[in-house]
């Protein structure tokens, strides 16, 4: 089974992330980036599927030069090859534009049996790219899988909701996005780290994909950030004094925040 995993290079959530003042896009310069942690689950799931049977895992990313680090991490984990689409004109692309580039790249890679995505990127956190991508590729999409199995030419997933878990089946080829409940991503071993140095990484531009620069980038995106403000400093916590009703006050507080 040949699997393509879409991965994103994101600013490290441990650092102070911000936007560029000039065009209000994500600042990727002043903060170290890495492979979006939520995408590691998709890579891990792809590796498990291929290890249990046969085939190849190709990772694909759309992003600036440094995004090569994200695909490298996936290669160190065990993916076979990588494609990195990098083009000045892509800067500032929103989800529809990104999904267009990804779709063309996946078509060029070949017709995978399965396209895997993470639940969301840890920077944009929109979760819409998988659906848009499936639409562009004309593939069935099953999203937010917490469990995935392939039986014959179908995938079966479990999607956990607030009140129920659904089991959903789709025929291959298809696109699946996975949650952080699906597995425990492996850490690259030394052998994986060394092997990754020799794995093929292709770098493509928009021209290689036949995508017109006028369809992507900040100016051609359907959405853009108009304004951003810093999150207000944290407010002082609320202290509940126990006058015999401490328990119920705590419960009320938790319920008001929808924790219980």
């Amino acid at each position: 089974m040949n699997i393509v995993v879409c991965v994103k290079y994101v600013p490290d959530a441990q650092s102070d992330r911000t936007f560029n003042d000039s065009d209000k896009t994500t600042d990727r310069e002043s903060v170290d980036g890495l492979l979006s942690e939520l995408d590691e689950y998709a890579v891990e799931e792809a590796l498990k599927l291929v290890e249990a049977g046969e085939g190849e895992v190709t990772v694909v990313t759309v992003g600036p030069d440094q995004a090569a680090d994200a695909v490298k991490k996936a290669l160190q984990m065990g993916a076979d090859k990588a494609v990195h689409i990098s083009d000045e004109a892509i800067h500032g692309s929103d989800a529809p534009a990104t999904s267009l580039v990804l779709a063309e790249a996946i078509k060029k890679i070949g017709s995978p049996d399965l396209v895997l995505c993470g639940l969301a990127s840890t920077d944009g956190t929109m979760s819409v790219v998988p659906a848009m991508l499936a639409e562009r590729l004309g593939l069935p999409q099953v999203t937010q899988a917490s469990e995935l199995s392939v039986e014959g030419d179908a995938v079966k997933i479990r999607r956990d909701g607030d009140v129920a878990s659904e089991t959903i089946e789709a025929s291959l080829p298809c696109l699946v996005s996975v949650t952080d409940q699906i597995n425990e991503p492996r850490y690259p071993s030394f052998k994986g780290i060394m092997a990754a140095k020799k794995k093929p990484v292709e770098t493509w531009t928009l021209a290689d994909l036949g995508v017109d620069a006028g369809q992507v980038g900040l100016d051609n995106s359907w959405t853009k950030v108009l304004e951003f403000t810093k999150r207000p400093p944290r407010e002082q916590g609320e202290i509940v004094k126990d006058e015999g009703d401490g328990g119920s006050k705590l419960a009320e507080f938790l319920a008001s925040r929808k924790f219980i």
Partner: protein, 396 residues
């Protein structure tokens, strides 16, 4: 001339930017070891130290093997074939966790595996190295004896020929991993000088009782090896090497790891002290705001940086084949000495909490007492440096 442009921000974790000279792979390797330590060792280490027992050393060794840590700087036989700098970075991360854990890995890879890899026959290598690299089999290295430490050349353990067999008699002391080992590399006197033997620990006459009542390196198995008419076939001996060159070549490998490792223990204690003093308030302000505290922090940070640079420099020389044994002596002498000083200073900065196992500092400081002694004592390395500088040997 300077180029304009914004300066990179100051990074407390890497004050002078040593990371600049590490490659992406080197950083990835460091990250992999750090991650393994954080998940498999860090949550338990204080308990293991306190009880003097690692819960399941075999499982832990397998974790290390799975990552590729064991004999990582050796080529072939299932070893990862990494560089000396990679190995050093791994030692630093392991010892930032605990010197005992680093010892477990050093002895396996740099002493037991290296001895077999460097001096063993092809059969010995095939027999032992792949399983040891995977962590399925544990090795130890027996050189020190109850009455012969710094002067191993005078050792009493003897191997005598009986027909084609070898028969070993004697005792080894302070042997890391001894009780849990599947194989012991044992050095013994023969008629042709000191030779090395690969001894499966289930050979009749071999036993390895654990040494108790240690106040240092408690999260590490330390043992006595008792060899009582241990009969081995001819093929158990290392074929060529004679004399102290055999064991000393191995010690040089392990010592090299300590040059880096000691800086790990120091970094961990420094981090604890920095964080603690920034949070702890006395006389109405964080104690990090007092000049005396800042002097301690500044001095600790300087010594850490110097030690790390020294380790890295020696590592690069090792990788390009220009590292002499004296270089490793310079590194071990300086870095262990400064590391224990940093840990002791950190201990003072934590006040009473400094003696608690809730914080890593007293554990590191106590562990480093062993590190100061094994793999050549401070005095021995001082004499090595002295001899290198003057040409005069002052050992005897």
């Amino acid at each position: 001339m300077s180029t304009a442009g914004p300066l990179p921000p100051f990074d407390r974790n890497d004050p002078i930017g040593i990371d600049d000279v590490l490659s992406a792979e080197e950083k990835a390797i460091r990250g992999a070891v750090r991650n393994l330590c954080e998940t498999k060792v860090q949550p338990h280490i204080a308990d293991w130290f306190e009880s003097g027992v690692i819960d399941d050393p075999r499982a832990l060794m397998k974790e290390f093997g799975g990552l590729g840590l064991l004999g990582m700087h050796l080529e072939g036989y299932g070893c990862a074939g990494m560089s000396a700098v990679d190995y050093g970075l791994a030692c630093l991360e392991l010892e930032a966790c605990d010197s005992g854990i680093r010892s477990m890995v050093s002895v396996q890879g740099s002493l037991a595996m290296f001895a077999i890899w460097r001096w063993g026959t092809e059969e010995q290598k095939q027999e032992w190295l792949p399983g040891m690299a995977a962590g399925d089999r544990i090795g130890c290295f027996g050189l020190t004896e109850p009455d012969h430490g710094s002067d191993p050349g005078s050792m009493r353990t003897r191997a005598k020929k009986d027909g084609t067999d070898w028969v070993l008699n004697g005792r080894k002391m302070w042997i890391t991993n001894g009780t849990i080992a599947d194989v012991a590399v044992v050095w013994a006197q023969t008629d042709e000088g000191i030779r090395g033997f690969v001894v499966p620990t289930d050979t009749p006459g071999f036993s390895a009782p654990e040494i108790k009542h240690k106040m240092s390196l408690r999260a590490s198995v330390t043992s006595e090896l008792v060899l009582d008419d241990v009969r081995l076939p001819e093929e158990a001996a290392f074929p060529e090497v004679r004399g102290l060159k055999g064991p000393l070549s191995c010690l040089n490998e392990a010592r090299y790891g300590i040059v880096w490792g000691a800086m790990g223990a120091a970094r961990s204690s420094f981090d604890a002290a920095l964080q603690y003093t920034m949070e702890r308030e006395q006389f109405g302000k964080p104690i990090a705001g007092f000049q005396l505290t800042q002097k301690k922090l500044a001095d600790m940070s300087l010594e850490l940086i110097k030690g790390e640079l020294l380790a890295l420099h020696i590592g690069r020389r090792k990788d390009n084949g220009t590292c002499r044994p004296e270089h490793v002596s310079y590194g071990k002498l300086n870095n262990v000495r400064e590391a224990i000083e940093i840990c002791r200073t950190a201990r003072t900065m934590l006040g009473a909490n400094g003696i608690s196992l809730e914080f890593p500092v007293i554990r590191h400081a106590n562990n480093l007492e062993s590190v100061l002694t094994y793999e050549g004592t401070v005095e021995m390395h001082t004499l090595v440096v002295g001899q290198a500088l003057t040409g005069e040997a002052a050992f005897r």
